[in-house]
Protein backbone atom coordinates (compact mmCIF):
# COMPACT_ATOMS: atom_id res chain seq x y z
CA UNK A 1 0.00 0.00 0.00
CA UNK A 2 0.88 3.67 -0.32
CA UNK A 3 2.96 5.08 2.53
CA UNK A 4 1.19 7.14 5.14
CA UNK A 5 1.20 10.85 4.53
CA UNK A 6 -0.31 11.88 7.84
CA UNK A 7 1.25 13.80 10.70
CA UNK A 8 3.81 11.63 12.54
CA UNK A 9 1.66 11.46 15.69
CA UNK A 10 -1.34 9.96 13.90
CA UNK A 11 -1.95 6.26 14.01
CA UNK A 12 -4.01 5.05 11.12
CA UNK A 13 -5.39 1.74 9.97
CA UNK A 14 -4.77 0.72 6.37
CA UNK A 15 -6.31 -1.88 4.07
CA UNK A 16 -3.23 -4.05 4.61
CA UNK A 17 -3.77 -3.91 8.38
CA UNK A 18 -7.30 -5.18 7.83
CA UNK A 19 -5.92 -7.99 5.66
CA UNK A 20 -3.48 -8.87 8.47
CA UNK A 21 -6.34 -9.02 11.00
CA UNK A 22 -8.29 -11.32 8.66
CA UNK A 23 -5.25 -13.58 8.26
CA UNK A 24 -4.97 -13.81 12.05
CA UNK A 25 -8.52 -15.12 12.17
CA UNK A 26 -8.71 -17.51 9.23
CA UNK A 27 -5.06 -18.19 8.34
CA UNK A 28 -4.59 -19.16 4.73
CA UNK A 29 -8.28 -19.84 4.08
CA UNK A 30 -9.37 -17.73 1.14
CA UNK A 31 -12.64 -15.92 1.90
CA UNK A 32 -15.24 -16.15 -0.87
CA UNK A 33 -17.64 -13.47 -2.03
CA UNK A 34 -21.34 -13.79 -1.37
CA UNK A 35 -23.74 -14.74 1.45
CA UNK A 36 -23.10 -11.47 3.34
CA UNK A 37 -25.51 -8.56 3.00
CA UNK A 38 -24.00 -5.36 4.35
CA UNK A 39 -26.46 -2.52 4.77
CA UNK A 40 -24.99 0.90 5.42
CA UNK A 41 -25.52 4.36 3.96
CA UNK A 42 -23.50 5.40 0.89
CA UNK A 43 -22.72 8.71 2.58
CA UNK A 44 -22.50 9.11 6.36
CA UNK A 45 -24.77 11.94 7.46
CA UNK A 46 -23.23 11.88 10.92
CA UNK A 47 -19.91 10.03 11.04
CA UNK A 48 -20.19 9.58 14.83
CA UNK A 49 -23.34 7.50 14.48
CA UNK A 50 -23.48 5.42 11.32
CA UNK A 51 -26.17 2.75 11.44
CA UNK A 52 -25.27 -0.54 9.83
CA UNK A 53 -26.76 -4.02 9.54
CA UNK A 54 -25.15 -7.31 8.60
CA UNK A 55 -27.00 -10.41 7.44
CA UNK A 56 -25.34 -13.69 6.52
CA UNK A 57 -27.34 -16.26 4.60
CA UNK A 58 -27.24 -19.53 6.54
CA UNK A 59 -29.69 -22.25 7.63
CA UNK A 60 -28.32 -21.82 11.21
CA UNK A 61 -28.69 -25.54 11.97
CA UNK A 62 -26.30 -27.43 14.30
CA UNK A 63 -24.48 -28.73 11.19
CA UNK A 64 -24.32 -25.49 9.27
CA UNK A 65 -24.26 -22.13 11.00
CA UNK A 66 -22.39 -18.85 11.09
CA UNK A 67 -19.83 -18.99 13.90
CA UNK A 68 -18.77 -15.37 13.86
CA UNK A 69 -18.91 -12.13 11.92
CA UNK A 70 -16.03 -9.67 12.24
CA UNK A 71 -16.23 -6.06 11.11
CA UNK A 72 -13.29 -3.88 10.12
CA UNK A 73 -12.81 -0.28 9.01
CA UNK A 74 -9.73 0.36 6.89
CA UNK A 75 -9.52 4.12 7.45
CA UNK A 76 -10.14 4.46 11.19
CA UNK A 77 -7.34 4.86 13.77
CA UNK A 78 -7.69 1.10 14.45
CA UNK A 79 -8.86 -1.58 12.01
CA UNK A 80 -11.18 -3.52 14.36
CA UNK A 81 -14.83 -2.51 14.74
CA UNK A 82 -16.63 -5.47 16.32
CA UNK A 83 -16.87 -9.26 16.40
CA UNK A 84 -20.18 -11.07 16.92
CA UNK A 85 -20.23 -14.81 17.68
CA UNK A 86 -23.35 -16.86 17.02
CA UNK A 87 -24.72 -20.39 17.21
CA UNK A 88 -27.66 -22.36 15.83
CA UNK A 89 -29.83 -21.03 18.71
CA UNK A 90 -29.81 -17.60 17.03
CA UNK A 91 -31.89 -18.87 14.12
CA UNK A 92 -30.62 -16.06 11.93
CA UNK A 93 -27.15 -14.53 11.56
CA UNK A 94 -28.20 -10.92 11.43
CA UNK A 95 -27.30 -7.99 13.65
CA UNK A 96 -27.17 -4.23 13.67
CA UNK A 97 -25.07 -1.63 15.42
CA UNK A 98 -23.92 1.99 15.11
CA UNK A 99 -20.33 2.85 14.34
CA UNK A 100 -18.12 5.93 14.00
CA UNK A 101 -15.83 6.62 11.08
CA UNK A 102 -12.83 8.93 10.77
CA UNK A 103 -13.01 9.42 6.99
CA UNK A 104 -14.18 7.93 3.70
CA UNK A 105 -13.19 4.27 3.78
CA UNK A 106 -14.21 0.66 3.25
CA UNK A 107 -16.13 -1.39 5.78
CA UNK A 108 -15.17 -5.06 5.62
CA UNK A 109 -17.30 -7.91 6.98
CA UNK A 110 -15.81 -11.38 7.41
CA UNK A 111 -18.07 -14.35 8.20
CA UNK A 112 -16.65 -17.56 9.65
CA UNK A 113 -18.84 -20.60 9.02
CA UNK A 114 -19.09 -23.69 11.23
CA UNK A 115 -17.58 -25.87 8.48
CA UNK A 116 -14.46 -23.69 8.17
CA UNK A 117 -15.50 -21.71 5.12
CA UNK A 118 -15.16 -17.93 5.18
CA UNK A 119 -16.99 -15.18 3.29
CA UNK A 120 -16.12 -11.55 2.85
CA UNK A 121 -17.89 -8.38 1.79
CA UNK A 122 -16.58 -4.83 1.39
CA UNK A 123 -18.53 -1.59 1.08
CA UNK A 124 -17.23 1.91 0.65
CA UNK A 125 -18.81 4.66 2.71
CA UNK A 126 -18.22 8.37 2.13
CA UNK A 127 -17.53 10.57 5.14
CA UNK A 128 -17.39 14.34 4.81
CA UNK A 129 -16.60 15.14 8.45
CA UNK A 130 -14.89 12.56 10.70
CA UNK A 131 -16.53 11.15 13.80
CA UNK A 132 -13.63 10.11 15.99
CA UNK A 133 -13.16 13.41 17.82
CA UNK A 134 -10.04 15.52 17.97
Amino acid sequence: MVALTLAPMSVQATPSMVEAEIKKLIGDTKPADGLIKLTLPAIAENASVVPMRVKVKSPMTPDDYVKAVHLFADGNPLPGVASYRFGPQNGRAEFSLRIRLAKTQKIVALAEMSDGRAFISRREIKVTLGGCGG
Binding site: V49, L78, V81, A82, R98, R100, L101
Partner: protein, 109 residues
Protein backbone atom coordinates in the same frame (compact mmCIF):
# COMPACT_ATOMS: atom_id res chain seq x y z
CA UNK B 1 -18.79 5.49 34.66
CA UNK B 2 -21.66 5.81 37.07
CA UNK B 3 -25.35 5.52 36.35
CA UNK B 4 -25.23 3.01 33.55
CA UNK B 5 -28.78 1.99 32.72
CA UNK B 6 -28.91 -0.52 29.89
CA UNK B 7 -32.21 -0.88 28.07
CA UNK B 8 -33.43 -4.01 26.30
CA UNK B 9 -36.46 -4.50 24.09
CA UNK B 10 -38.07 -7.78 23.09
CA UNK B 11 -41.67 -8.53 22.07
CA UNK B 12 -43.92 -9.24 25.07
CA UNK B 13 -45.33 -12.51 23.78
CA UNK B 14 -43.56 -15.00 21.54
CA UNK B 15 -44.55 -18.24 19.87
CA UNK B 16 -42.54 -21.42 20.26
CA UNK B 17 -39.95 -21.55 17.48
CA UNK B 18 -40.49 -17.92 16.53
CA UNK B 19 -37.50 -15.86 15.44
CA UNK B 20 -37.35 -12.57 17.31
CA UNK B 21 -35.11 -9.52 17.32
CA UNK B 22 -33.52 -8.33 20.56
CA UNK B 23 -32.65 -4.61 20.70
CA UNK B 24 -30.33 -3.12 23.31
CA UNK B 25 -28.88 0.28 24.10
CA UNK B 26 -26.53 1.45 26.85
CA UNK B 27 -25.78 5.03 27.75
CA UNK B 28 -21.99 5.18 27.69
CA UNK B 29 -19.47 7.70 26.32
CA UNK B 30 -17.36 4.99 24.66
CA UNK B 31 -14.24 7.14 25.03
CA UNK B 32 -12.03 6.09 22.12
CA UNK B 33 -8.59 6.88 23.55
CA UNK B 34 -7.92 8.98 20.42
CA UNK B 35 -9.36 12.29 21.57
CA UNK B 36 -6.95 14.92 22.94
CA UNK B 37 -7.84 16.72 26.16
CA UNK B 38 -8.39 20.36 25.15
CA UNK B 39 -6.43 21.69 28.17
CA UNK B 40 -3.43 19.39 28.33
CA UNK B 41 -3.25 18.21 24.71
CA UNK B 42 -2.78 14.68 26.02
CA UNK B 43 -5.03 11.88 24.83
CA UNK B 44 -8.01 11.09 27.05
CA UNK B 45 -7.59 7.45 28.12
CA UNK B 46 -9.73 4.87 26.38
CA UNK B 47 -12.81 3.67 28.25
CA UNK B 48 -15.31 1.68 26.27
CA UNK B 49 -17.62 -1.28 26.75
CA UNK B 50 -15.48 -3.99 25.17
CA UNK B 51 -17.72 -7.04 25.55
CA UNK B 52 -21.38 -8.02 25.45
CA UNK B 53 -22.61 -11.44 26.51
CA UNK B 54 -26.22 -12.58 26.41
CA UNK B 55 -27.65 -15.87 27.69
CA UNK B 56 -31.18 -17.23 27.24
CA UNK B 57 -32.08 -19.67 30.03
CA UNK B 58 -28.37 -20.14 30.62
CA UNK B 59 -27.42 -20.77 26.99
CA UNK B 60 -25.12 -18.27 25.29
CA UNK B 61 -26.95 -16.49 22.46
CA UNK B 62 -24.53 -13.64 21.82
CA UNK B 63 -20.87 -13.06 22.51
CA UNK B 64 -19.69 -9.81 20.98
CA UNK B 65 -16.46 -7.81 21.20
CA UNK B 66 -16.60 -4.08 20.66
CA UNK B 67 -13.75 -1.80 19.64
CA UNK B 68 -13.54 2.02 19.87
CA UNK B 69 -15.24 2.30 16.44
CA UNK B 70 -18.56 1.44 18.11
CA UNK B 71 -20.51 4.69 18.64
CA UNK B 72 -21.19 6.31 22.00
CA UNK B 73 -24.40 5.08 23.64
CA UNK B 74 -23.94 1.79 21.84
CA UNK B 75 -27.01 0.26 20.23
CA UNK B 76 -27.09 -3.26 18.91
CA UNK B 77 -29.67 -5.82 17.85
CA UNK B 78 -29.55 -9.52 17.05
CA UNK B 79 -31.87 -12.50 16.60
CA UNK B 80 -32.81 -15.47 18.77
CA UNK B 81 -35.24 -18.37 18.30
CA UNK B 82 -37.91 -18.56 21.05
CA UNK B 83 -37.89 -21.93 22.81
CA UNK B 84 -39.59 -21.61 26.17
CA UNK B 85 -40.40 -18.97 28.76
CA UNK B 86 -37.56 -17.84 30.96
CA UNK B 87 -35.03 -15.06 31.25
CA UNK B 88 -32.51 -13.43 29.01
CA UNK B 89 -29.48 -12.12 30.90
CA UNK B 90 -27.25 -9.38 29.48
CA UNK B 91 -23.78 -8.37 30.63
CA UNK B 92 -21.80 -5.46 29.21
CA UNK B 93 -18.16 -5.29 30.35
CA UNK B 94 -16.38 -1.94 30.69
CA UNK B 95 -12.64 -1.37 30.16
CA UNK B 96 -12.56 -0.35 33.84
CA UNK B 97 -13.63 -3.89 34.82
CA UNK B 98 -17.22 -3.05 35.75
CA UNK B 99 -20.07 -5.25 34.54
CA UNK B 100 -23.43 -3.69 33.69
CA UNK B 101 -26.28 -6.17 33.87
CA UNK B 102 -29.87 -6.43 32.80
CA UNK B 103 -32.36 -9.30 32.76
CA UNK B 104 -35.60 -9.51 30.80
CA UNK B 105 -38.43 -12.04 30.90
CA UNK B 106 -39.07 -14.12 27.83
CA UNK B 107 -42.72 -15.10 27.56
CA UNK B 108 -43.58 -18.09 25.35
CA UNK B 109 -47.13 -19.03 26.40
Amino acid sequence: MANIKPRVRVRKKLKQGELFEVKTIVEHDMETGQRPDKKTGKKIPREIINKVRVTYNGELVLDADWHPAVSANPFTSFFVTAKESGTMDFTWTDDNGADYKKSVKINVP
